[in-house]
């Protein structure tokens, strides 16, 4: 098998002047792409983040690595908008929860006025500014990776790996998305009018996906964030005191937190479904984190991501598996 882009200049690889006479190495039309990146990608050696088995499998599929493409973005969010104050925007006299159009639930106190420290209200409220900031950061990093792949004349990006972590300061998060740009052997060089497809899969897993009749479309990720302002009942439950009252012998469900936990996952799933456009999501991973702020008060965050795939052919289901026993 012919080697990948190591054999440059390759007639299949993009002309530095571009297929339409566009200078693919110039950064003028691509403000997100640093000049150094353009220079690096103009070199003749290809780079790849694939393992050797994945690399070999990609060659077998007719996918030629053309470059290790990366996108990064550092986001800061300091403005906690609607409902973000410790007492919400309206506090106990509050406007209906979720007024901004997102999820919201109110929980009222059954006791009436007890003291100024008594939480007479509680609410779960979606935190759209956190979601927007996360989406902006991830979207920008992913978009920049795709931009590099487009610059390389790639048809797609395989083996995508993403990461995000706090950077130096509270409220600052860095996003990185990386993958290996590939070209499909025998296909004309893309003219850049269409973004390359992307997938977390590579190697044999990608081969199996295609054999099963699915085409990779894009990596998709969505985040949902919900803030819990505990009502007095939730505070008592979280502090371990409410069930002792009245001689109960069994605990009670912390309904407000359970509903917030369900809601944050439901929101993430709805967001992802909104990105699928009738395609399917495979190999999804759902990660939920809860940051406790006080008794019952918490920030919940759910991140759901996976491979958006499209069925391109009907495939015959495998025959019923035949069990085997190995002799060693």
């Amino acid at each position: 098998m012919a080697g990948p882009a190591a054999a440059l200049p390759d007639p299949d690889l993009p002309d530095p002047e571009g297929p339409e006479g566009t200078d693919l190495t110039a950064a003028a039309d691509r403000p997100d792409l640093p000049e150094a990146a353009s220079r690096r990608m103009g070199e003749s050696a290809f780079t790849s983040g694939l393992t050797v088995p994945d690399f070999a499998a990609c060659l077998q599929m007719g996918l030629t690595p053309v470059g290790y493409v990366q996108g990064s973005c550092v986001m800061q969010w300091r403005w906690y908008g609607y409902g973000g104050s410790p007492y919400g925007l309206y506090g106990q006299w509050g406007a209906p929860a979720g007024q901004g159009g997102g999820y919201g639930q109110r929980y009222s106190c059954p006791h009436g006025f007890v003291s100024s420290e008594h939480r007479m209200w509680g609410q779960n409220m979606e935190q759209p500014w956190i979601e927007d900031a996360w989406r902006s950061g991830f979207g920008a990093a992913c978009g920049r990776m795709v931009e590099e792949a487009t610059d390389l004349g790639a048809h797609g990006v395989v083996g995508v790996a993403d990461s995000w972590r706090p950077l130096t300061d509270l409220g600052v998060l860095e996003f990185h998305v990386r993958g290996t740009a590939v070209r499909v052997e025998g296909e004309p060089v893309p003219d850049g009018s269409r973004a390359p497809w992307t997938t977390y899969l590579a190697g044999q897993r990608l081969a199996k996906l295609i054999e099963a009749g699915y085409a990779p479309v894009a990596v998709v990720a969505a985040v949902a964030a919900v803030r819990v302002w505990a009502s007095c009942i939730t505070q008592y439950q979280a502090g371990g005191s409410t069930a002792m009252w009245g001689g109960q012998t069994t605990g009670s469900e912390i309904t407000q937190v359970a509903e917030a936990q369900m809601a944050v996952r439901q929101l993430a799933r709805e967001r992802v479904r909104g990105l699928l456009d009738s395609d399917s999501l495979h190999g999804a991973g759902m990660v939920t984190t809860a940051r406790e702020i006080g008794e019952g008060d918490a920030d919940l965050e759910c991140i759901l991501r996976g491979n958006r795939v499209r069925r391109f052919k009907e495939f015959e289901a495998l025959p019923p598996p035949r069990p085997t026993v190995r002799l060693q």
């Binding site: 199996k208 012998t249 605990g251 469900e253 009738s278 495979h282 085997t324 026993v325």
Partner: protein, 283 residues
């Protein structure tokens, strides 16, 4: 596992890659609610092979409160904590059932069970993929099943003529009674069994296993497979031990027992026995 051989990586696979990429130029053919799943592709292929397909990612969560002070002093079982676990598991199961029915699933496979024991509450989270028979029309059946079996194990179970019914769980938290001062003094420099802890573990184990079995019978099952167990001390309570178990309740569909009759294979790719190069020199 199957008669069908994957294409040997030649032109067939390359043609399929080109076909897949070309399909992206057109809008998706499939219309309707998109399917989402956290199953691996292998698991999905196994499910397809026995006539099932993924529908949606579904979940159920519940938290039950535990009052202050119950972990520290007392005798016998810590009823508050045991009840909180059992109730949280039941409520989370109800929610994932509801989620599955809403998605049009006939059951849930690959359920991941996450449990968190805190001083003042116990949390149970269930996340899995709702599935249905391939091409099923209409709404879900009245009873949907829950199972923590992987796609492969689900397919194997189907092959034997058994079916999953639900998840059964049992838990118990028990005090390990404090030793008397005299006993502590006497045992200070001895290697002895701490019978108070051993007995507490046995007590928690038997109660939890019995609860799980009772739960399986209530679901109409005849057994539980893939039982997972967690046991040991409670991190924030020095004299409490806990035991929790859960698994998939199964029942035979009826009719004759089907045997898998596995085919014996002798792989030819056994690892080569290594040798030390120094042995060539007779060392």
């Amino acid at each position: 596992m199957t008669d069908r051989q994957p294409s040997a990586g030649g032109e067939d696979l390359r043609a399929q890659v080109r076909q897949a990429v070309a399909s992206l130029e057109k809008p998706p053919r499939h219309a309707g609610r998109p399917a989402t799943t956290d199953l691996s592709l292998d698991e999905e292929l196994c499910l397809h092979a026995v006539g099932w397909e993924p529908v949606d990612l579904v979940c159920g969560i519940s938290l039950f409160s535990v009052p202050s002070g119950v972990w520290s002093w007392g005798q016998g079982e810590i009823t508050w904590a045991s009840n909180a676990f059992m109730q949280a598991f039941a409520a989370a199961s109800n929610r994932i059932h509801h989620d599955c029915r809403r998605a049009g699933g006939h059951g849930v496979v690959g359920v991941r069970v996450e449990r968190a024991i805190h001083r003042h509450h116990i949390e149970v989270t269930l996340v899995g993929t709702a599935v249905r028979p391939v091409g099923a029309k209409g709404g879900p059946p009245t009873a949907v099943f829950l199972s923590d079996l992987s796609g492969r194990d689900f397919a194997l179970l189907e092959g034997t003529g058994w079916e999953p019914l639900g998840l059964a769980a049992g838990a118990s938290f028990v005090y390990a009674p404090r030793r008397s001062v005299g006993t502590v003094m006497r045992q200070t420099s001895q290697n002895v069994e701490l019978t108070n802890f051993t007995e507490a573990i046995y007590s928690a184990r038997e109660t939890a296993m019995e609860r799980m079995q009772r739960s399986a019978l209530e679901l109409g099952g005849s057994g539980v497979v893939e039982v997972k167990i967690t046991e040991g001390p409670v991190s924030f309570a020095g004299h409490a031990v806990g035991f929790a178990a859960y698994g998939t309740v199964v029942r035979h569909r009826g009719g004759d027992q089907r045997l898998l009759r596995p085919q014996v294979v002798l792989p030819l790719d056994d690892a080569v026995q290594g040798f030390e190069a120094t042995s060539l020199r007779g060392e």
